[in-house]
């Protein structure tokens, strides 16, 4: 039997992947998994406790919110928003940031200077504030949330990757490739990118966790998806108003956000340990 690839033998990667996959499947199959319509209001049965608590109803496994909407169904549909944002925002930020980082690190000189100053300007804002301001300008909606996160978080990729590109570009095999007369494009894509790719994968995984948090923050203050879509931050904002009557309603979205972020962080940390050549060599 062939031995498992190293990234599959890391318990962290497996655990992180399992958590993320679970949330991802729930999000994908939301119409099948959710017991109720997430928007359907039952004004006669508001703020029900979970089904196992006294007074709970079997029809609402995790109870209902202040408008009598099913908490479980809203969690599942909220996972759709969270996962969509996590995937597209992190990939977008990665593309944008990685391209600029490779240009800056490989070309050096004026290109590096300009990109470096752009990062400085961006970094002079706390990311949460910048994304909030962008949402004010762009207006609410799923696509704009993704765009706002891409426009804020590309710097996270750019800063870290630029240094990595510079280290890789100084390696002997890159110099050799240059001497052989390969084009810049070929050197960047065939020689340098394979060296920086493990770091890119790790950063994407960590960024997905960050994107989940940012989406939750934006939807908490009502600046994410429109109000007719369930989102975890919105559920928290709603549950906060009936804190004493239904503390449960606050617990579930908190747990959902925590689990999603934990999953992405475990995945990212595990991948860093198994993909980073230098870490593996040092063992």
């Amino acid at each position: 039997m062939r031995p498992l690839p190293p990234w599959l033998s890391s318990p962290r990667v497996v655990a992180g992947f399992a958590i993320v996959a679970l949330i991802g499947i729930a999000a994908l199959l939301a119409p099948l998994v959710a017991p109720n319509d997430p928007q359907e209001q039952n004004l006669v049965s508001t703020l029900l406790p979970p089904a196992w608590a006294p007074g709970g109803a079997a029809a609402f496994p995790l109870g209902t919110d202040s408008l009598g909407r099913c908490v479980l169904s809203r969690l599942v549909y909220g996972a759709r928003v969270a996962m969509t944002v996590a995937i597209f925002a992190s990939l977008g930020a990665m593309l944008f940031g990685a391209v600029l980082a490779h240009l800056a690190g490989y070309c050096g000189g004026a290109v590096d200077w300009i990109i470096g100053r752009a990062v400085d300007v961006w970094m002079s804002f706390p990311p949460v504030i910048l994304s909030l301001i962008l949402m004010v300008g762009l207006g609410v909606g799923l696509r704009n949330v993704i765009l706002a996160i891409v426009l804020v978080d590309w710097t996270r990729f750019c800063r870290v990757l630029r240094a990595e590109v510079m280290v890789t570009a100084r390696r002997d095999y890159v110099a050799a490739a240059r001497l052989v007369g390969f084009s810049h494009w070929r050197i960047l894509t065939r020689e340098i990118l394979p060296g920086t790719f493990p770091l890119i994968i790790t950063l994407v995984s960590l960024e997905m966790g960050i994107a989940v948090v940012v989406e939750a923050i934006l939807s908490f203050v009502g600046m994410s998806v429109s109000a007719d879509q369930a989102a975890w931050g919105q559920m928290i904002a709603d549950a906060r108003l009936s804190l004493y009557e239904a503390p449960w309603n606050l617990v579930f979205p908190i747990l959902a956000i925590f689990l999603a972020v934990l999953g992405f962080n475990l995945l990212g940390d595990g991948l860093r340990g198994t993909l980073d050549v230098r870490l593996v060599e040092a063992r």
Binding site: V121, F125, P126, I129, L132, G137, V213, Y244, P247, L262
Partner: protein, 338 residues
Amino acid sequence: MNLTILRLLAWRVIVALPILAIVSALLFGVLRLLPVDPAAMSLPPTATVAEVAAKRSEMGLDRPLPQQYLLWVENVAVGDFGTSIHFRRAVAGLVAETLPATIELAVLAMIIAAALGLTGGLYLFHVRATWREPVADLGSIVLLSIPEFLWGLFFILLFGVAVPLLPFTGRLSAQFQRPVHTGFLLIDTLIDGRLDMFRDAFAHMALPALALGLAFSPAIMRVLRSSLLDVYQEEYIAQARLRGLSERRILLRHAFKNAILPTLSLMGVQFGFLFGGTLLVEVIYSYPGLGNLMVDAVRNADLPIIQAVGLTYCVLVLVINTAVDALYLVLDPRLRPG
């Protein structure tokens, strides 16, 4: 050494000016994308079209965008950030009232984050290569996965609702009349010698500061651990061992002093992020700071406030960066001129 720091400060101010100019231009541009008319918003709904037009020209909105921007910069330079559309008050005053509250909270939170982060980092390093390492490491990842507002909500459930120990709304209990000297409540209560009020203000800050501190400590832990691991590869550590120094002394006197430098620059970045984190924590704890002002302004599309608060955050980050650089000069002998 003082001269070097002064030169650094001067250089920082020179660099900060173009950054501020670009940031403010970006801010101005982004917010003009909004499909709202600040002039119409600041008038009663019964206003006639002519009144709105008059207001528009009064606010300079009928001029081209670059001119509007220059006008805004001119006013900002003399401390005039315009008038809030929603509160109908000078924005500069609103910011001046809320800024100390946020700084106070963020500084307390940063002290907590640094204390937890440094001890946690030393502990993570201490348990390396033992059976406790994977457990401690996993613990740090779990901590890393809990953002500040989740801690905040969790503490409200725990210490506010389940076991009511600490207050979780506002800055001061209702029976106290707030003293105003510097705007920093912890300092103002001490100036007046009101220890009871100081305790009350501190109790109000405890939960939000702890939530922020806990959320920002794991990154510090992990960077300190990895820089300690790097430092231990250096020859002077082996040499200190050969000289027969105790492991404790090597760690605290030799390794820690060098490993703290990369940790410090991360803490600078974290401090800036922490100001962003105060936004939601302030909302959750109804804490009257800059973050609450910002969120209110966003909900009301109150452009003058959003611009002013955005710029304030930017200045805060630039000040922190400068302070960290200056601290670096003090701590790193290699950077001092001979």
